[in-house]
Amino acid sequence: MRNALTLERRWDLAIRFLGRVGLWGITLAALLFLYLPIAILVIYSFNTSRLNAVWRGFTLDWYRSLFAGIGESGADVITGQIWDALFNSLWVGGIATVVATVFGTMVALALERFKFRQKTALEALLFLPIIIPDITMGISLLVFFSLVFQLIQTVTGVRLVLGLPTVIIGHIAFNISYVAVTVRSRIAELDPALEEAAQDLGANEWRTFYRVTLPLIFPGILSGALLAFTLSLDDFVITFFTAGVGSTTLPVFVYGMIKLSVTPAINAISTLMLMASFLIVLASLALQRRSLQL
């Protein structure tokens, strides 16, 4: 009996040991899996060798080729384009973020602070853009714009084409939902008594919103905007289908480079984009810290 117990105990200890080892092992392996590719990308952006993964020496040529068009064939074509693409991305991201943040915040307020019959329908409408595959959204906008533009051409004779405005329209459409979800969770945490108190003290609705609600939910709005901006800068699929010729954003430009040929210049531009997103993450963390302290 005693012997059997110790055997069982040993078995339990073995399981515990395996569990511990597995937990640590898988965690380390998973973190390695997440970061190794990024690290390799950065390292090889400084590699002299163009063709393969053998380390041949340190160089900044790939970065230079991005900015000044030195060296590689076709690099001078790239130089102008990359700045255009970056500029386009920032434009699209900026406008789409501002509009989507305003619309998304408004609808989030409506959902949290009002009771109305069509609430479930509105929630479903906001939920759909998040779950529907990007590519269906991209092609549906392509279909929509081509039909509407055809119609406009037959009626007025004006010929409209896809471009940055159509990209921005699409980006606003998918960003509204993300902003609404983010801001809504912040409003839900807010104590309604604060707003009631303001109204009891004689503030009207607008004043209550402006002086009480808005400052309190501002961190939520900011993180919603940040999410929208990141998603917008990151988006390839919807932009790809709604951009048309000559309105390339940075991801579409990178996609073109990848499809054309694999050169370390792509590593260089990827490294720069990585650094930009690290900076955004750090900035958002700093903002959160500050809002917590306030």
Partner: protein
Amino acid sequence: MFNRIQTHLATATNRRRLNLAVLVIPATVWLFFFFVLPLFMVLLYSVLERGTYGGVEWQFTLSNYERLFNPIYWGVLGRSLWLALFTTVACLLVGYPLAFFIASRPPQWRNTLLLLVIIPFWTNFLVRIYAWIIILRQEGVINVLLSSLHLINQPLDLLFNSFAVTVGLVYGYLPFMILPLYATLERFDFALLDAAQDLGANDLKTFVRIVLPLTLRGIVAGSLLVFIPAVGEFITPDILGGAKTLMMGNLVQNQFLGARHWPFGSVLSIVMIVIVLIPILIYFRVADEKLKAN
């Protein structure tokens, strides 16, 4: 007096209604025109004849749906489902231990570890997928490493096949699995583990009987968050896959930009939306019934 109060109340309700309308209308109108309407146009296109130069002829037909019965497309459909399912399971097997590990650390460690998981999520998807080209291609990191160790004579074909696509999908969507899992595991009462222990259960039994059932919500949510975008994925198979690893997203893109068969592309998009909506609807149905049962 009574009348005045009544009118006052009436104007207050009216004003409230007006406020609600002002808050809801911008987002709703935007989403109606640039999300709902485009989807309906896709539905419309799916029953129209193909136009000669892309676009459509305005003639009703069901032939586009008949085309779905061609076994060629079943292969693509099956592969999309299979790859998405495989990706989901792989993400779960890697993500669960990682999320558990993070949730069971002391609080000051948790945020840092969580940040490590989130950072790749904030970096550009294209860039992350591209990193795998550097690693997997014939002149890539793995092949150079293996051949310098004299383990292989010829470079391995690691790129442009389902292996590469699966690796890319798991890499791209792992954070989507970890975050909801962590959210449920963080709320998990770890004192229950001690209780189970005291009652004589070993770690394996505790995990299967206590931890797993109590974190099922996170597992389901994470699996949906991975499966849904993975099924509609188009960039990963486009960049890391070859002709034999086409997924539905590639087929849709091909019909719209390559083969110029917009109606059939529309049919495929509708199939994709249906595939995505089925698990979502089941999820909500079950959640609803659970809510009612409680």
